[in-house]
């Protein structure tokens, strides 16, 4: 074994000398894998980031959409790639927390198969009702739901979405009953909610804010930890009387497992710096997302605490692995 291969071996073990701390990245085009079709929030995030990183680091960043099985196809693919910085993954909250709970064989482990980089962006869900529902605040809504068990239907953007599980959690905490109607996306659910076929929903902020502003839907409470800048007058669920209730989604960036610490740190720094650019933050805010740019440990903690919470909801709602 010559000196060079020894050096490589050392580098791959993550015990590279200090000089290597400034890991040369990227050395070749980096692929950002998006688990959903072009045009959605993950895709927008990936393309915005790709453009920023491209300009900052002078290497091409390519976006690749690999769809299927609620993101599991892309997750399995990324898990098999080498951890050399040439592959990054836009991992949505559903992929990292809910999928493994709902699918018998998700085919990947959200913690074990990936190197965490950052929670990039987050969006709150908003509890909205059709104006025909006689409730102006959360307490009135709960009272109305209790008085009319199983009369109300709520829409979501699909089975296992944060909107679906958020509402199941709401049912469990408030002891109310209603029917779940999944749609192929939040937009389709909004149409039926405005049209009066559905009575309520806990939907992604950006999808429903235009309807709330026009008075076609009534906002009851925000699922975020804080009030949302787009609707500052609407209270959070916690303020409205449901302690510990949050509902929303986030998108994280992860790399394949076993990435050397210096490289992971370097990618983290580059990605979070790009996210914090005013232009990027503004672009993402327009689609209802707030930039988080969390620490690497922050992502791991988020995955662990949320998985624990949703495991409980999934079990009690009888949705577990089928």
């Amino acid at each position: 074994m010559n000196r060079r291969s020894l050096l490589f071996a050392a580098a791959s073990l993550g015990v590279a000398p200090a000089v290597r701390a400034q890991s040369p990245w990227p050395t070749r085009p980096t692929t950002i894998v998006v688990p959903y079709v072009p045009g959605g929030p993950s895709d927008i995030l990936a393309r915005t980031l790709a453009q920023q990183l491209n300009a900052r680091l002078g290497q091409p960043f390519v976006v690749e959409n690999r769809t299927g099985a609620n993101g599991a196809v892309a997750a399995q693919y990324v898990a098999r790639q080498p951890a050399d910085g040439a592959t990054l993954f836009i991992a949505a909250s559903g992929i990292m927390t809910i999928n493994p709970l709902l699918l018998a064989r998700a085919g990947y482990d959200p913690i074990g198969d990936f190197t965490p980089i950052t929670v990039a962006i987050s969006a709150s869900n908003l509890m909205v009702v059709n104006p025909s529902v006689p409730a102006n605040n959360l307490q009135e809504l709960i009272a109305w739901l209790r008085a009319n068990p199983d009369k109300a239907s709520y829409g979501s953007s699909g089975i296992g979405s944060s909107e679906h599980l958020g509402m199941e959690l709401f049912k469990q905490v408030t002891g109310t009953e209603m029917t779940h109607v999944p749609y192929p996306g939040g937009g389709a659910a909004t149409t039926d909610l405005v049209g009066g076929t559905l009575q309520l929903a806990l939907l992604n902020m950006a999808t429903v804010v235009p309807q709330v502003q026009a008075g076609r839907l009534r906002a009851i409470a925000v699922g975020g930890r804080t009030r949302h800048p787009l609707l500052p007058e609407v209270p959070t669920m916690v303020e409205a009387g449901l302690p510990d209730f949050t509902s929303g989604s986030w998108h994280s960036i992860v790399a394949p497992r076993g990435m050397a610490e210096p490289l992971a740190t370097r990618i983290h720094d580059a990605v979070t710096a790009a996210l914090r650019t005013p232009d990027v933050a503004q672009r993402l805010a327009a689609t209802g997302f707030l930039v988080e740019a969390s620490s690497r440990d922050g992502l791991t903690t988020t995955i662990e605490t949320e998985t624990a919470r949703w495991r409980d909801v999934v079990r009690r709602a009888g949705l577990a692995a089928g």
């Binding site: 079709v37 072009p38 045009g39 959605g40 895709d43 927008i44 393309r47 915005t48 790709a50 453009q51 976006v63 690749e64 959409n65 690999r66 769809t67 299927g68 099985a69 599991a72 196809v73 239907s153 089975i159 296992g160 029917t179 109607v181 999944p182 749609y183 192929p184 937009g187 389709a188 909004t190 149409t191 039926d192 405005v194 049209g195 076929t197 559905l198 950006a206 999808t207 235009p210 309807q211 502003q213 026009a214 076609r216 503004q282 672009r283 327009a286 689609t287 209802g288 089928g322």
Partner: protein, 498 residues
Amino acid sequence: MDALNNLAGGFAHVLGGGAIFHALWATLIGIIIGALPGLTATMGVALLTTLTFGMGPDKAMLVLICVYVGAIYGGSRSAILLNIPGTPASAASTLDGFPLARQGLAGRAMGISTTGSWFGTLFGTLILALFAPSFGEFALQFGSYEMFWVALFGIVIAGSLSGGDALKGYIAGFIGLFVATIGQETNHAYPRFAFGNGDLAGGLGLLPVLVGVFGVAEVLSAMRGPAVKAVSSKIDSVIPRIRDVTQYWKTILRSGALGTFIGAMPGLGEDIAAWTSYAAAKRASKEREKYGKGSIEGLMAAETGESACVPGAIIPVLTLAVPGSAPAAVLMAAMMIHGLNPGPMLAITAPEFIYQIVAMLVVADMVKMFYGLVLVRPLLWILLIPRSRLMPIVFVLCTVGAFAITSRLFDIWVMLGAGLLGFVLREFRFPMAPLVLGIVLGDLLDKNLLRGLVLSGGDLTPFFTRPISMGLCALTLLAAAWSIPGLSGIFRRKRAVA
């Protein structure tokens, strides 16, 4: 007068600062993306969205609208020249476009396609400018119950698309409906016909199947033998004829109205617009026997319908923040990224924006007409390439197209399987149109029936008692009765007496 002033303002705003240059390149890219089998308008708009980040919102919207308009139009180039629809929207254009090309009239067919498409977009844009708010409101009345009937109505009138043997048409249609049921159902994610296979549980994509039954099957047919004589290279008329327009003005208006209406319905898209316009034109036609053999009216109807759908699909984006089609959904995301907030508040916060969109659509439509005239001759050269050289290239393009949308190898297998099936069915003279329509409408029918039943708690009555449902139900029954030869004879005789 106000509206006119606003419109003039919209044009003045849009036409400044190199707008024509942007419109020219964006429409051309759209046409190319549309003409390549498998690359769709949705994908084109999504990919170009990234490129427009650095532009101002006005220019960005102009570019994206041009790509959208161009791609829907471009899909018909390959449909006419190769019998392979470039996008799902152009599948109906193969029915008469390709037979025309085979008769040595490819140039004329492209001319008709250009004229029809141009009128279609213009018609839809006019509706958008005049009636956007009320059209949007009407679209909201269509819930799951109503959409179920829309799908069923489509399936019933699809029987008329079979050409020769109606029975073979229905068999092909049912194969399509069956393909649509493969994969997880919508309410409980219960896998159907998946046999424990994860890929099958995800369902068969429309695009790989479409590329298979048209593209791969065409390649196989060409390989089978020299039966198909190379298309005559004689260059026919390449300038659209005024007479085609004056003769078929009723078809153009009907298809324009249908296309715009279908565009405005969330969940329906350009493909359904084209099929519906085609089927409606065939029903009303005096020269029904020409359909499927190179009917100018049929091609005109399909082209007008799909292109009218584009402005139609933008109507609910602007008035409700609900997209009317898949490319319109990406367009809406791009609007949000650029800080334009589409939706019910737009008419209050930025009414001028609606008129700017109208101006952009008109610009895109004019540029499309320009390319329609300029590109005919170069495109005709494709027909001069021997099919033995052309078909391998087409096969590679098909494979790339099927793979591109999700990067899954499974989709290539689906494409090959569908190609083989399509080839065998063709050999036995089964029509392909009902098969594709079955897949498109089967999905709509299945999802809306199941969702409607969940909403009503298993009760069927809302499907019949809601006002619009009732009307659509009556329309479907009437269409079904009309297809029974004896009954339609009675209808016609009565009309003759009256």
